[in-house]
Amino acid sequence: MLSCREVIEQLWDYLDGELPPEQMEHIAEHLAACARCYPQYQFEFAFLEAVARQPQTAPRPPRELVERLHRLVSAT
């Protein structure tokens, strides 16, 4: 069983899906059973979700730019 420190050190890698499958499984098992680490997982998850939603509120490219790029791509 992984220690809490090992889990916390790899929590962002885990949330990013960047660990080998076996390690992902070990961390998932720890989180499911650990009342100390699970809230931090929820906290970091909520934070990353908020950042991931940011593109939805980002300004869209102006129409003239999009049209210019379409012309550029089809002309070459």
């Binding site: 916390i8 990013d16 809230p39 970091e44 934070f47 991931a52 593109p55 300004p59 730019l65 550029l72």
Partner: protein
């Protein structure tokens, strides 16, 4: 069955066009200026079309465009890639745990991040991050690129991306929580955190 000789070209063009919004977002984050971002996007597409033979069909076209975009930005702005000292990524992760420990009495599950009022604060906090950290956060957290893809875009080892990403997240998180406290969205955290 006969192959359509124009199919690869059409697929490439479709990939380029479907990436316009993502490349524009990335350019806005790099330049922090809408008008410069437009020029940068156009420059990116001109370069991509001029070097289309370098693109390998089936690979991540957006990552390829992000790479071109960042290189064009660095060249155009005469920026040098400034190395920012980053602590070890594991230390950054532990420091984030310290932030969370300070939230124990107020918002341990991060409900504040669900608040729509935070959207503008995230944009502003991102703009304040040094370019190295901002680009890593934008690529991985907003544009859904893997650490390896971000490393290719930035021309640095995966470990460097990880350090910059974690540092950027921690700075961003600190800024957002401070904003949420000031805006009354969150009770003041404990002093020792």
């Amino acid at each position: 069955m006969r192959q359509n000789p124009d199919a690869p070209r059409a697929a490439f063009e479709q990939e380029l066009l479907s990436a316009i919004e993502a490349v524009h977002r990335f350019a806005v984050h790099l330049t922090r200026d809408p008008s410069q971002a437009e020029d940068l996007v156009q420059e990116t597409y001109l370069r991509a079309l001029a070097h289309r033979d370098q693109y390998q069909p089936g690979t991540n076209c957006r990552a390829w465009l992000f790479t071109i975009c960042r290189n064009a930005f660095l060249k155009g702005a005469r920026h040098s890639v400034r190395e920012v000292a980053t602590e070890d990524a594991a230390l950054e992760a532990l420091a984030a745990a310290g932030v969370h420990a300070g939230m124990a009495g107020t918002d341990p599950e991060g409900a504040v991040f669900e608040r729509p009022e935070l959207a503008d604060a995230i944009r502003l906090a991102l703009e304040k991050l040094p370019e190295e950290f901002r680009t890593a956060v934008v690529l991985v957290d907003m544009e859904d690129q893997s650490y390896a893809e971000a490393a290719r875009v930035l021309g640095v080892p995966v470990g460097t991306v990880r350090s910059r990403l974690f540092r950027g997240r921690r700075l961003l998180q600190g800024d957002l929580l401070a904003y949420a406290e000031d805006a009354g969205l969150l009770a003041r955290r404990e002093e020792n955190t």
